[in-house]
Symmetry: C2
Subunit: 314 residues, 2 copies
Amino acid sequence: MRPGIDVECREVGLRDGIQIQKVFFPTAGKIAWLTAEAAAGMPEIEVCSFVPPKLLPQFADAAEVVAAAKKVEGFRIAALSPNLRGAMDAFNAGVHKLNYVTSVSEEHNLANVRRTIDESIEDFKRIVALRNETAGSEKTILCAGLATALGCSIAGQVPVADVMKLAERFVDAGADEISVSDTVGYANPQQVKDMFTAVMGAFSKQVAVTAHFHDTRGLGLANVYAALETGCRHFDASLAGLGGCPFAPKATGNIVMDDLVFLLEGAGLKTGVDLDKLVEVRDIIAANLPDEPLNGMYAKAGAPKGFVPATQAA
Amino acid sequence: MRPGIDVECREVGLRDGIQIQKVFFPTAGKIAWLTAEAAAGMPEIEVCSFVPPKLLPQFADAAEVVAAAKKVEGFRIAALSPNLRGAMDAFNAGVHKLNYVTSVSEEHNLANVRRTIDESIEDFKRIVALRNETAGSEKTILCAGLATALGCSIAGQVPVADVMKLAERFVDAGADEISVSDTVGYANPQQVKDMFTAVMGAFSKQVAVTAHFHDTRGLGLANVYAALETGCRHFDASLAGLGGCPFAPKATGNIVMDDLVFLLEGAGLKTGVDLDKLVEVRDIIAANLPDEPLNGMYAKAGAPKGFVPATQAA
């Protein structure tokens, strides 16, 4: 965690937010977005996914985007890869962090990455070895994302024990970070409290634990508060709530970054993000995706009278 | 609280939800709405406001709506009145509960009801006396709503001490219930935790304590969860999130009742409300206010696979 901040937000809009967009988000627009959001103080931005362009043409410019991101100072460049091949490309591009996703539900993992969970873990071990052997990538952070950890659109409820077991396997395999993901927006704050109490208790001393919530059923920020109360201090979100999952029908929308930062800053927790500057970055999304409705209540209503964000009060 | 339920939801859409609507919600539509929502299991519905029709023509049919509501069984009929005259009409109509609102912020009280806080309390004392003397109204519940308790669009921040002091004055004056209201949607869950810890600790053994949140800046349901964690078990909301405050610009939208019930039922708390039936009642609003956008994420996304509401699991 960057010195001087209490909670770390991670922008995932440039990956999770645009992966299901049929319109290609122009490379210059992606670079403008990450540059402006880094300038607003965002400590980590997932800038792309290293996947075959045939599968997701949205990320055909992944290497170019990372190259541009490396010229921008002050933030951690993250990228997603579903497999060893993509991880190799990501390491070669010079990302600071690699996100690798496996679903806790076997059915969802098969649908999402066409592998069993065992196969996903074997591939992750090869990625760990590659990271350790690749010159310049020794310090690249490896984050294991546990998708469908709070419910699955195919399997339904997902037991806490299954999440704990998969988290343990990834930590044992060498993950530096665990991301507990409500991929399809099923989570309830009481469930989040139970899940994060268990996960934080078992793993937070060894690895960073991130919460990845969607706002599909309106409970995304309630889930953030529940996770916060268990001590979680890392949260994914996307500016203006862009996002979804191609294999989870109607699971539209990561939690809204601007509303998340408003929640955290209002709770007295420093994010290091300038909320006014952050809201202005929405204009870059609007300019590049003119037909996409932007979510976010703070941007619409503005600051409460007399509101002083924790970062500015410091 | 009705036997067999853990948390009591209160529908305020027929009052708070429609008071700023320029379109008159037809009387038959109001009656259809309250009848259908009572049938879905809603334990309390605020059905109207007793105010001069010149001031708020939306409630010109208040007595007629209460008369119709009395023919519907199984729910508590609440109504709002800003003064003694309205309270008299409400008692004569036969409401089960009277809601009386005073702002914690002096400036907001002057703007909202054109009186000082001291004047508001004096009038409340006269309402208590009238209630005690009116045949058939002895058991009518008197609820003191503390508006702008979590921030004011005129005064800015509102100290916890001011809320505690006003709550104490109302309890001493004879209030049966206290409603802590985020009238303008300023509240943060950390602030709610602090405020409700104080209010619940001081008053919840003597009177019922209700939370009234707006979702103006996206934190409404996070605030619900924070209040729940302090032991609060009474929540106002409006179906499809209708609502606002005529004196608080942009303060649009009570929290969404359907999403609130989804949160509570998913947390294992019985509300007594049938969520499927509740969502169907939205159609009555849509039919009567065709130009009004309806809020609510649960209604759009549907239930998670395998979801069993606590009320149905019982």
